[in-house]
Point group: C2
Chain length 244, copies 2
DNA sequence: GCAAAAGTGTTCTCGGTACACCCATGC
DNA sequence: GCATGGGTGTACCGAGAACACTTTTGC
């Protein structure tokens, strides 16, 4: 319990906080998920520097001294994609002593959900040689312990998407029920019955029928819906639980 | 994305990691839960030092430079209670810039579950003037942002206890079904039907009937059970899901 | 007209919930 | 013998799962 005595040690005499405690740093890493209509994808950067030069890695950065954790994640994301006010969720801290070859760096892992069509890569980003949306299940090797982080975030997303209406963050504002179902199938990695899925999601009364149709598809066009966030907030305040 | 360029900046010339990044530290805080047979309780310490002198606080410490996060939590817990191999679960990082008045300290919050009867306070612990098991719902004001941490951990426990058999960590090895039900009622903060609870928990076939009886109670004595961890591991490998 | 995906109802099963009385013990 | 909590069974209801055919469009 030396934390307390060292940080607050005035009563016990001048015991300065050991310098050693500050040869360490903390970072955030963010798993950026997108959905291409068929597969769940993750945005990775190819590292332009050592260590792990040429490896694919998650986006992340050290946390600035006067910056909250969420702010740091948002900053990195905006720098990379230009997007603001993106959905993000903190998942877990990774703090193994040797996880970073150059020093003690504890990282706080987040994931973000973005509409893949809104993403435009930032040509000024100099820290990587390239970006790419990888299919989540095809990612094999990543820099640092990023593979572990990716797995933890994917698992967390799988859980969360059943009990919170966060999947919509991955879709355009207007979407069809088939797109929504395919999204859930991709995240949950299991097929879902078309009729049962429609029945269940519509019975929540959280989708607004926009009276618009899909255009230019070589089959019967589908109705377009949007998710009613306002109504969702009303319902949860009355004890409603989203559940799929 | 200066993290990468600064930490790995050799290609870009000698850009040392700014000293500022290391005027910060990380700690762990641990919400220690126990169950007294009726109420869920949390072990708090009364601070013997500034800041927040005299305030109740969670147990915690700075993380040593060559220590993993889980190790730090275990170390603090063992120092305080003498217990080893205690169940613990990481919940969330708290990193607001001003959460600690003396510097930038990011803390990783954990909770632990212990059998309250096995707890014996460590008389050598000098960092606090006293310890006490507080009823979770009666805790009002804590040092730092510990109230927020307690709430997040309690919420996390509530969720987790339904889908993982972790409640047993709070009970003695041998317990009655009523004790188990009262534990769930305390954590979930709702009454549970006696018959339905028994039916459901017994139908999982995870409790071993020890053919022993409660002793010395002024009513019909109850059967004693223990939880079969070995069988649980077998079942989950076959796709079983604990659910209460 | 053919390929491709949209849209639509019913049946069955199983798990959740509600509910009341007798039993064994200590004092 | 009385107070206290232990232990037991059934009936009802609603949600989830399984399942096949017609419709609308582009080419």
């Amino acid at each position: 319990m030396s934390y307390i005595s060292k940080l607050d040690g005035k009563e016990k005499g001048p015991i300065p906080i050991s310098q050693e405690y500050f040869k360490s740093a903390f970072s955030v890493d963010n798993v950026i998920f997108g959905f291409d209509g068929t597969d769940l994808r993750v945005l990775l950067i190819k590292r332009a520097f050592k260590p792990f030069l040429g490896y694919w890695a998650l986006t992340g950065d050290l946390v600035y001294p006067h910056e909250d954790l969420d702010e740091a994640v948002q900053r990195v994301l905006t720098e990379l994609t230009g997007l603001k006010d993106v959905f993000m969720e903190q998942v877990k801290a990774f703090g193994e002593v040797d996880r970073h070859p150059e020093g003690r760096v504890i990282t706080i892992a987040y994931y973000s959900l973005i509409d893949i069509r809104r993403y435009t890569p930032n040509p000024d980003a100099a820290f990587a040689t390239s970006f790419k949306w990888h299919k989540v299940r095809e990612v094999k090797e990543l820099a640092f312990d990023h593979m572990k982080i990716l797995e933890a975030c994917f698992e967390s997303l799988k859980q969360k998407v059943r009990s919170q209406p966060i999947g919509f963050e991955l879709l355009p504002d207007k979407f069809t029920l088939s797109q929504l179902r395919q999204l859930y199938e991709a995240i949950l990695e299991q097929p879902l019955d078309k009729r049962n899925f429609r029945k269940k999601i519509l019975s929540m009364n959280l989708l607004v029928d926009l009276n618009e149709m899909q255009q230019g598809v070589a089959h019967r066009p589908a109705k377009l819906y949007r998710f009613d966030y306002k109504k969702y907030k009303e319902l949860i305040s009355k004890g409603f639980n989203f559940d799929l």
